[in-house]
């Protein structure tokens, strides 16, 4: 085969994957970028180039700023506790206790549920007065909170539900990591007189670091991608108190039909996610504490 033919051959082999990638990933990205610098076109007024106008608009858009801030709090509020909880649960079900398999399954169950189903369950929990949480609180003489209707409570309520949903999934990664730590390390530390607490901080936690990084980045990405529950629980309300970036994009595009502004917010989100992905690769290059 001549080198030229080999080249053709190579390109032909690459083509199916390349076409799929370009059609469904690269072209939409470029199209979004283009769309974000044009005004929305209508049959009467065709789209025209408006440069960075949409981006200027973004800076002054109070809803966008609130959605971005909400998203930041949502990210911090879900990621850190769900990781801490995942480590705790993993250590707990890694011990030799009766009913360990059942416990692992129980912790993992929220992950199996579709987000929409989970949101419906929590809708029942959060319903004022007749919901599970209020009924339990009523036993202690405190009730009548509108968990999803109060702007101060709605975001924490969503965060709690998301932690419940995510922690079990992250636990699986930690469980796998814990099982790869040789039990002799614990015995060696015991002989040296290390307490459980100092063994955890001096040995287990550092050895779990690669897992923590992996989970951290994925949890962060998730916190920007997760939107299903808003459709069921709050639709971003009340007064945008639970609005998140992706949901705001959806609203802008399909409720307000401002596609070019939606494209602008999409670009911002895309850049944010790309930065996170870059951070992930950079961290993994350093391969923290791999054996």
């Amino acid at each position: 085969m001549t080198p030229r033919m080999a080249n053709v051959y190579g390109w032909l082999l690459l083509m199916p994957a390349a076409i799929l990638l370009i059609a469904f990933t690269h072209w939409p990205t470029v199209a979004t970028l283009i769309s974000s610098v044009y005004s929305p076109g209508t049959p009467v007024r065709p789209a025209r180039f408006i440069g960075l106008d949409n981006y200027r608009l973004l800076v002054d858009d109070p809803v966008f700023i609130q959605a971005a801030l909400n998203n930041l709090w949502f990210a911090i509020g879900t990621v850190v506790p769900s990781i801490a909880l995942a480590i705790l649960m993993a250590i707990w079900v890694n011990e030799n206790i009766p009913g360990r398999g059942l416990l692992r399954l129980a912790y993992f169950t929220p992950t199996i549920l579709p987000m929409v189903a989970a949101a419906n369950i929590w809708l029942f929990f959060y319903t004022p007065d007749i919901g599970l949480i209020d009924q339990v609180l009523a036993l202690f003489g405190s009730s009548g909170r509108n968990w999803l209707g109060d702007p101060d409570l709605v975001l924490p309520s969503l965060i709690v539900m998301t932690i419940w949903k995510e922690a079990g999934f992250f636990m699986i990664f930690y469980l796998a990591a814990l099982q790869s730590i040789p039990p002799e390390l614990r015995e060696a530390a015991m002989l040296e007189g290390a307490s459980r607490w100092s063994f955890f901080w001096k040995v287990t936690f550092p050895l779990l670091m690669p897992t923590t990084l992996f989970v951290l980045v994925n949890a962060l990405l998730n916190s920007f991608k997760l939107v299903d529950h808003l459709f069921i629980l709050t639709k971003g309300g009340p007064n945008n108190a639970s609005n998140l970036l992706l949901y705001y994009i959806y609203e802008t595009a399909f409720s307000f039909f401002d596609t070019s502004y939606a494209a602008t917010i999409t670009m911002v989100l895309l850049v944010l996610l790309a930065l996170l992905a870059l951070a992930k690769f950079w961290l993994f290059e350093k391969r923290v504490h791999y054996q």
Binding site: M190, L191, E192
Partner: protein, 352 residues
């Protein structure tokens, strides 16, 4: 100086007894080997001393103190694990000093002890490396340094050399022994390798099925095995055990299929066998292996396969018929109950 004593110790998981009513005692400053095949309970015995397993019955004492229920750290022992159990995220210095930091030993003393231990184990140039950047032998030394830096009088070792290649193992054997004698350590050393046991030990406990089968110096175990198991375990190739019938003080080779056959066992070391021209135990050569200094011939003798160690190169063809002899004082005799019978006074007709 520390004396370790186990009295009637049993360790069991459910119905399976890992260690079954074991009593043993280790004198201060001696190198003691727990030897045996896998699953014989030697590692469990070591872990019982370390406090990593709990005894169901019996008393374990170190230096006169009952430590049966004491936590591992309170026993004043250090341990070298088979896979070294180094902390992969810590460098050599941090690995060696882990225990001293946990016990809050002062910084100056830590540095002193580190220098001392690193010097003894030849690690001074590797202190900043992570375990993954070290060879197997160096990792082994780090584990050793971590054990001696604690300056506990007792050091437990669980097959510490089994992950090293044969040549390194031989060097480390000598180094370990030298280190033990230099520091006056009491070492309890677990291995399944009888050569290691013979080469290093002051005393050997040969274990089988959770019990101590025989206890003594390496010479005792080799020269006077108390049971056929010990006879088979010690020595390469192991002692030959030939089933025999005893009739009126005379021995006859056992014949397969007969009711009384193989009731007693005659044991002879391969190097104690000689070839005879006329009278002797008849055998048929099956194979022969040339080792350089000697040749080991495998010969079929009734139902038993007998190994004969002959000096230098001795050519033997398979199928060749030979006669074997040995001196009466080189013969070990075991009766139906698998116990040694020295005074039985039985002998083969061709023995003088």
């Amino acid at each position: 100086m520390s004396r370790i004593a186990l009295e009637n110790v049993t360790c069991a998981w459910g119905e399976t007894k890992g260690v079954d009513d074991v009593s043993l005692s280790v004198e201060p400053g001696t190198f003691v080997v727990l030897l045996g095949p896998s699953g014989c309970g030697k590692s469990t015995t070591l872990r019982l001393i370390a406090g990593l397993e709990t005894a169901r019955d019996g008393v374990i004492s170190i230096d006169g103190c009952d430590v049966t229920d004491a936590p591992p750290a309170a026993r004043g022992v250090s341990m070298v694990f088979q896979n070294y159990a180094l902390f992969p995220h810590l460098n050599v210095t941090e690995n060696i000093l882990f225990g001293l930091k946990v016990r809050r030993v002062a910084k100056g003393e830590r540095a002193e002890r580190l220098a001392w231990a690193a010097d003894l184990t030849g690690l001074t140039d590797f202190l900043q490396r992570k375990p993954r950047q070290l060879s197997g032998g160096q990792r082994q030394r780090v584990a050793l340094a971590r054990a001696i830096v604690a300056q506990h009088p007792v050091c437990l070792m669980d097959e510490p050399l089994s992950n090293l290649d044969a040549k390194l193992r031989q060097t480390m054997r000598a180094e370990l022994r030298a280190l033990q004698q230099r520091l006056g350590l009491t070492v309890v050393y677990v291995t399944h390798d009888q050569i290691e046991a013979m080469a290093m030990a002051d005393r050997v406990f040969l274990m089988n099925g959770g019990k101590v089968e025989q206890y003594g110096t390496p010479e005792d175990l080799y020269a006077r095995p108390q049971t056929p198991f010990v006879a088979r375990f010690i020595g390469t190739p192991p002692m030959n055990l030939i089933p025999v019938d005893v009739a009126g003080g005379a021995l006859e080779p056992g014949t397969q299929g007969q009711a009384e056959s193989g009731d007693w066992l005659v044991g002879v070391r391969p190097e104690d066998l000689t070839l005879a021209d006329d009278d002797g135990l008849p055998a048929e050569v099956e194979a022969s292996e040339y080792h350089g200094a000697d040749t080991v011939v495998a010969a079929r003798c009734g139902e038993a396969l007998v190994h004969v160690r002959l000096p230098r190169l001795t050519r033997m063809a398979p199928g060749e018929r030979i006669r074997l002899r040995w001196r009466a004082e080189d013969m070990h005799l075991f009766d139906k109950a698998n116990t040694r019978r020295d005074g039985a006074g039985v002998r083969f007709s061709w023995m003088q």
